[in-house]
């Protein structure tokens, strides 16, 4: 009895000491990197492993799903806790972090390396995202994943029904209608094929898929003096069009996220979608795809305005309160160098360097690269405001409500406009 009690107490004591190990990175040979859970994060994780093999610097990875990544980074940076030395940022988050001075300015660090600014090789639209103010200001982040939207479509089905590649949204809608109505049994494993699939889950999903249509139709989130204008005639027309496309989308799309969209495309049950290039490599993976060699990728259709993709780069920044800035910067430069980015690209991650988009080896492996580069260079970002997160949240709610039928397009846009105005008011 005594011995047993003693063993229990001893093991608990050991557990305690283990538990109280401090997690601080006081050791300069360690870095902590916050990454997105998904394809892009995987690429950076792999790069971190390579870096460790090369330099011996151990990199701890903190991986979070998209929504939580923002929260975790915001919490850590505003709390000045310094848990992270490097953070991945989706470009719309960047204004919030930069405007609150939570990031380390990169130009002084570049100067210690004898560079006056970032490499000319970076695609201008990508580098512009890392500057505060946009395009013209100081540099706080480097772009790592060069995503900008493409239209994905099933070239085999388009050929079957003699449809040409959509240059305008109306053509895309007509194609979606044709396929939905006629392809009633063509899915691998039986079942119908839907002409289109989109994600309209509230938040980032709905907004990201809607903005290109919104812009193509002539909508703008803010008018020239900065007041919200989503309920303009063009904006409402765009939303109505989105609902039209929704008619040919699988049921339940009103709460789809990227995973459902991807699953439908991979399973062959949907024929067209807006998506990010990072998905392309999945389509040729036999363990996941039932539509190998059947997908084609092109730039987004236009309408009133020429088709412009929404840019969605992932940036890497160094928090102002990071504990190992120099070491972090070394890694950042290394990871965004042409050589390392090429390896990341070979793993399926779109690069942010012009030279890589035209690199023969990469173009051979990814025939869509020319289209991607065109898309990237002509892309436009979502509105650069520190309040983007709240705006996207609210806008996404109303888009989702319109798509689920709860509100009419006019009601949805009007209410969204009012709420966005409230957010701007509070943020002053």
């Amino acid at each position: 009895m005594r011995i047993q009690a003693g063993i229990v107490i001893a093991s608990i004591a050991i557990l305690f000491t283990v538990a109280c190990q401090s997690n601080t990175n006081s050791n300069a040979k360690q870095l902590t990197l916050a990454v997105n859970s998904g394809v892009e994060g995987d690429a950076l994780k792999q790069a971190a492993k390579d870096y460790e093999a090369q330099t011996g610097v151990h990199i701890n990875i903190a991986e979070f799903p998209y929504a939580n990544l923002f929260e975790k980074e915001l919490i850590d940076l505003t709390a000045r806790a310094g848990a992270y030395d490097l953070i991945m940022l989706d470009d719309p988050w960047f204004p919030k972090f930069a405007s609150q001075q939570l990031l380390t300015e990169l130009s002084p660090l570049l100067q210690t390396k004898g560079q006056s600014g970032p490499d000319e090789d970076f695609v201008p639209t990508s580098i512009a995202l890392g500057r505060e103010p946009y395009q013209t200001g100081a540099l706080y982040a480097l772009p790592y994943v060069g995503n900008s939207q493409l239209l994905f479509y099933r070239k085999d089905l388009f050929a079957k029904y003699s449809l040409k590649e959509p240059a305008i949204w109306e053509e895309a809608l007509a194609a979606a209608k044709t396929i939905s109505e006629l392809e009633t049994n063509g899915a691998p494993g039986g079942g119908k094929v839907y002409g289109y699939v989109m994600r309209a889950a509230q938040g980032n999903a709905a907004v990201a898929d809607f903005m290109p249509i919104f812009w193509a139709f002539g909508g703008e989130m803010f008018d020239p003096v900065g007041r919200p204008a989503v309920n303009s005639y063009e904006g409402i027309a765009a939303l109505k069009f989105m609902l039209e496309l929704g008619k040919y989308s699988p049921p339940g799309y009103a709460s789809f996220n990227a995973d459902e969209v991807g699953a439908h495309l991979l399973q062959g049950t949907a024929a067209m979608s807006i998506n990010w290039p990072a998905w392309i490599s999945a389509f040729d993976d036999p363990s996941r795809s039932k539509v190998i060699s059947k997908m084609e990728f092109t730039t987004l259709p236009g309408a009133k305005n020429p088709g412009r993709a929404e840019i969605g780069n992932w940036l890497i920044a160094i928090p102002r309160d990071a504990r190992n800035k120099e070491a972090a910067f070394e890694f950042l430069l290394w990871a965004t160098s042409a050589e390392q980015m090429k390896r990341s690209a070979l793993r399926g991650n779109p690069p942010t360097r012009k030279s890589l988009f035209t690199d023969p080896e990469l173009v051979k492996k990814f025939p869509a690269y020319p289209a991607q580069l065109r898309s990237l260079e002509s892309s436009r970002p979502r509105p650069r405001t520190p309040l983007w997160n709240e705006i996207e949240n609210v806008f996404g709610i109303y888009l989702s409500k319109a798509n689920s039928g709860e509100l009419s397009p006019e009601e949805a846009m009007n209410q969204a406009n009012t709420e966005i105005a409230k957010i701007l008011e509070r943020g002053k």
């Binding site: 929504a67 509230q202 699988p250 049921p251 339940g252 709460s255 949240n393 109303y398 509070r426």
Partner: protein, 306 residues
């Protein structure tokens, strides 16, 4: 609960061995750590939350203000979240209670394999809520999930069964998941309550010539009241604070349709960094929780004195 509030009155007329004085010191020693820990982790944060809710930050300056509470009244998202939470709680509670009671009555008599059934039924309760959320997110996927897949197998057209993406169905889904997980809880407590009822009242009722329904209504239910109240109280507390499953299953969607108060508070605090407003909303939640629990406890205590 009744038993424990009356615990001091049990036999044994108190200690005759040590003096009253040393008892007091010992009491401080033994109760001290508990009181300290609970104070630090419950009361102190509460006070801090009060001060947070009474401050607002604008343009970089923080000042005292009632603005957060004023905003509550006109914030349609807050009111919607509040509504969702209440609807969720009431419907889930009712369903769990009725189903749990039915199961308890069914299993009250000795049947073969009762402990086997009981063991199986308690599985959902013990699962981490995150795991529950994930299981059901998987099952309820409209295109690939097991639920629709099975229904399709029976020949039903599942096109309209978009469990987590139509507002009405989504609310129904989170309620259904909660019922799946927690009906066993009700069942166990009510069963224990039923088994604690002595035989005599039943025998008396039989002699009086009552039928099954009358016996149930006039004998069983009144004697079951304490167990019922305990079960309802505990379940209500948990329903009002629901977060985990909704976070995983619908993330509050579609279009805010299943956003509960806890979720909205979490978002406000950790996504939008608006700690003051989050604290103000927390208070409303706390207030509602306290009022309801006070109500239940009052009924329980009235029962004791009655």
């Amino acid at each position: 609960m009744r038993r424990f509030l009356n615990a001091e009155n049990k036999k044994g007329a108190g200690s005759r061995v040590s003096g009253v004085g040393s008892d007091k010191a010992l009491a401080y020693l033994l109760l001290g750590p508990t009181v300290f820990v609970l104070f630090a982790l419950s009361i102190y944060p509460l006070i801090h939350a009060v001060s947070l809710s009474l401050q607002i930050t604008s343009g970089g300056i923080t000042r005292w203000s009632l603005q957060n509470f004023v905003r509550l009244v006109s914030d349609q998202f807050f009111l919607a979240a509040l509504g969702h939470t209440l609807v969720f709680a009431v419907v889930a509670l009712t369903l769990e209670f009725l189903l749990g009671l039915a199961l308890a009555v069914l299993l009250n008599k000795q049947i073969r394999g009762r402990s086997f059934f009981r063991a199986g039924l308690l599985v959902p309760m013990m699962l981490p809520t995150v795991v529950v959320g994930i299981i059901w997110r998987l099952m309820l996927n409209p295109n690939f999930g097991a639920v629709n897949g099975t229904l399709k197998g029976f020949g039903l057209n599942t096109a309209a069964f978009t469990w987590t993406s139509s507002p009405r169905l989504a609310m129904f889904s989170i309620i259904a998941v909660d019922v799946w997980q927690w009906t066993p809880f009700m069942f166990l407590i009510l069963l224990a309550g039923l088994q604690a009822i002595p035989q005599e009242p039943y025998e008396a009722a039989l002699i009086d010539g009552s039928n099954a329904w009358q016996t149930f209504r006039h004998v069983t239910l009144p004697l079951l009241k304490p167990a019922i109240l305990v079960a309802l109280l505990l379940r209500t507390m948990d329903l009002l604070r629901v977060f985990d499953q909704v976070f995983i299953l619908t993330e509050g969607g579609p279009g805010f349709a299943t956003e509960t108060l806890s979720l909205y508070i979490y978002r406000t605090a950790f996504r939008f960094s608006d700690f003051g407003y989050a604290a103000a909303m927390s208070f409303v939640l706390l207030l509602i929780t306290n009022i309801i629990s006070a109500f239940y406890i009052r009924i329980l205590q009235a029962k004791e004195s009655g």
